[in-house]
């Protein structure tokens, strides 16, 4: 009789433990380490990448003397606004620290481009080619970073 009671009691404990464990698991059944995938963010990264590339290609078609800061100023501001807007979109998403940091680095390099151009009032082919390659790699990294959240 006593053995039967112990056996029943053990079974009952196991059952309650299982119920407790399942309640815990069902209430927290998934982990999330990165933000939810956002296709609009990925498309925006690709759109800005296209604008930046167009800006560099247009400058390569010009002579060095034609590449004044005055000519490029409007474009610098437009891309700066686009990158700031993308940063806001990234900042309001939870678990998105890496993408925020990527966006900040892209903005940092863009502002550096603008300041260097303003200071020298010209840009060489070598600088344009180098920066074109750098931004291409940055935007690919950002787009891949978003895509992998899917």
């Amino acid at each position: 009789m006593k053995t039967n009671y112990v056996f029943t009691n053990t079974l009952s404990k196991q059952f309650y433990l299982l119920v407790l464990l399942s309640s815990f698991l069902i209430s927290s059944c998934t982990v999330q380490y990165v933000a939810q995938y956002d296709e609009t963010v990925k498309n925006e990264i690709i759109r800005i990448a296209g604008e930046v590339d167009k800006f560099f290609i247009e400058q390569l078609e010009m002579t060095e003397n034609e590449r004044t800061y005055l000519y490029a100023k409007e474009k610098y501001l437009m891309i700066e606004v686009d990158l700031n807007s993308l940063l806001t979109k990234n900042e309001i998403r939870a678990l998105n620290n890496q993408s925020i940091k990527q966006n900040e680095l892209a903005l940092k390099l863009w502002l550096d481009d603008k300041e260097q151009h303003k200071k020298k009032d010209k840009v060489s082919d070598a600088i344009i080619n180098s920066h074109r390659s750098q931004f291409k790699r940055i935007f690919i990294a950002m787009a891949k970073g978003e895509e992998v959240k899917n």
Binding site: S22, V34, Q102, A106, Q134, R137, M142
Partner: protein
């Protein structure tokens, strides 16, 4: 219905593996892509410096910018790693929850 912990753990392991087996190559593939791109970029920078198209100051400035490019790319590796871990853990937990649901 009994709860066989060894069987459940094996199924969890299989589920975790299956969830990421088609995607796990993206990390080494992208690391290769990063360093191939960096090799090309540094080669061009060195050639331009030797050709006199960059001053020393510009050359050093470009190297500093390359560090920021690399950091951006490494952040993508971090996101890839976290996303894969998330996928694997959630697949394993799904198996565990289903196994528990069957016995209660």
């Amino acid at each position: 219905m009994s709860f066989n912990i060894n069987e459940v753990l094996n199924n969890m392991k299989t589920a975790a593996f299956d969830a990421v087996k088609d995607d796990v190559h993206v990390i080494p593939d992208y690391i290769n892509e990063i360093f191939e791109g960096e090799k090309d970029a540094l080669k061009i920078l060195a050639e331009e410096r030797l050709a006199g198209n960059f001053t020393d100051e510009e050359f050093l400035h470009e190297l500093e910018r390359e560090k920021d490019v690399l950091e951006t790319q490494m952040l993508t590796i971090e996101i890839m790693t976290l996303a894969l871990a998330q996928k694997a853990i959630n697949a394993a937990m799904d198996v565990l929850i289903k196994a528990i649901s069957l016995v209660i």
